[in-house]
Symmetry: C2
Subunit: 246 residues, 2 copies
């Protein structure tokens, strides 16, 4: 603790006093927008699953989230995850890929555009009405990945928290948005309605594994799509700063 | 597909043509810095574990990463994860918390400051020399969380990829940085040197669970600290845009 002791204590002080900036000889001072810094940090914590379940976005981040999802950030992030996911090769007919639907294959941005982008508390019956219109657009980079996965011969399982009674409208919406040739569309049966998503989705993946499938990829916008038992060889987390499903 | 068909196709076009900006009546155009957008997206993908193992940061993001780790972003993110982690109560003496060491309790920023913040390929022998100096400063928000966890009566396990031969210097470094009273410091034995970190750390967590501990929290800067078997009830991912350990 000789030459670095000054650095060490300066570093610690910085970490306890976030209002100042770490000073290095080479660093130019930078004006940082406070709200942007705060909301960027909130978004990283949300995306890395560090937050306790949250029910609506922070009010002070409403404009930040809106700018993100309507601007180039969200699109860029969606494209990147699709591109990263596409590097795999497959072996035989038992390789499977699991896709979530909402905010993974289909976008509900038109709905959230009318509901504060996650600022308003989730309204089941309003959202059901939107789902029942069956007009959610495809997330284009996901459609691209989906098509590649199908072309490579993967078995495709669509595993959604949507309820069984929305099967027909969901199929219609998916097909109109360009999705085809999946192996199985799994929706929540009435007795699964109150299971936590992580458990429900784990049980469904357990069944796939029991049937001999190797889950090679899993794409979802929620960590509850990806974590639990029978986890995929690789998981791909799509950005979603608008809502959290435990 | 009536009123929303235009939106739907516009949305899809947007996603395939990232050079334009999603247009909504309410959206003000915003000049976005290209490199910043690209590197912000890269960082999110890295932090959410969407990238295949990566060996060095993208060259074009060298300044971005440097500004992030030396500026207020990294500090803000470290503080947030520490604060989010501190909401737990405990039951009895079998509740445990697992901490990784490097970039979780101790910061190697002084080393990475001299080595391009992840731009240079990792140099084992150079890094060993740095570790052997034993002068890595504490990450202050982690020290705060650590202290709270100890005060609440958790058993604290330090689970690190550092090798057994670095035990003494690691203990000295930890104590000089303010960390005390852990229950067990687990380092890699020589025969564990070539295990993947995810497997090595899972096996060590398996042993804790076998001994009757409930792993309530796990703090680490790598997903290989957090994923695998015997996962913690809650995992806390600290930011680290500088290196990846599979």
């Amino acid at each position: 603790f000789t030459s670095l002791s000054l650095f060490s204590s300066a570093f610690s002080d910085e970490l306890s006093h976030p209002s100042s900036i770490l000073q290095y000889p080479s660093e130019a001072k930078k004006v940082v927008d406070e709200v942007d810094l705060h909301c960027t940090s909130w978004r990283l914590a949300a995306e890395t699953n560090n937050l306790a379940p949250w029910s609506s976005i922070p009010a002070e981040c409403a404009d930040y989230v809106k700018d993100y999802v309507l601007g180039r950030g969200y699109v860029t992030d969606l494209e990147r995850v699709s591109e990263e996911a596409s590097v795999f090769d497959i072996d035989d007919g038992k390789d499977a890929w699991v896709f979530d639907i909402d905010e993974t294959l289909l976008s509900n941005l038109p709905y959230y555009n009318d509901h504060g982008f996650g600022l308003e508390l989730f309204d089941h019956s309003e959202f059901d009405k939107w789902v029942e219109r069956g007009v959610a657009p495809a997330i284009a980079p996901s459609l691209k990945l989906y098509q590649r996965v199908i072309d490579l011969g993967y078995r495709v399982f669509l595993l959604t928290g949507r309820k069984e009674s929305h099967r027909l409208v969901t199929v219609e919406n998916l097909i109109n948005a360009g999705f085809q040739n999946w192996d199985k569309l799994i929706l929540r049966s009435p007795d699964e309605q109150h299971k936590m998503a992580t458990l429900y989705k784990s049980e469904k993946r357990d069944e796939m594994v029991k049937e001999g499938y190797r889950i090679r990829g899993n794409s979802g916008d929620q960590w509850s799509d990806l974590l639990g038992s029978s986890m995929s060889q690789r998981s791909f987390k799509l950005a979603n700063p608008m809502y959290y499903i435990p």
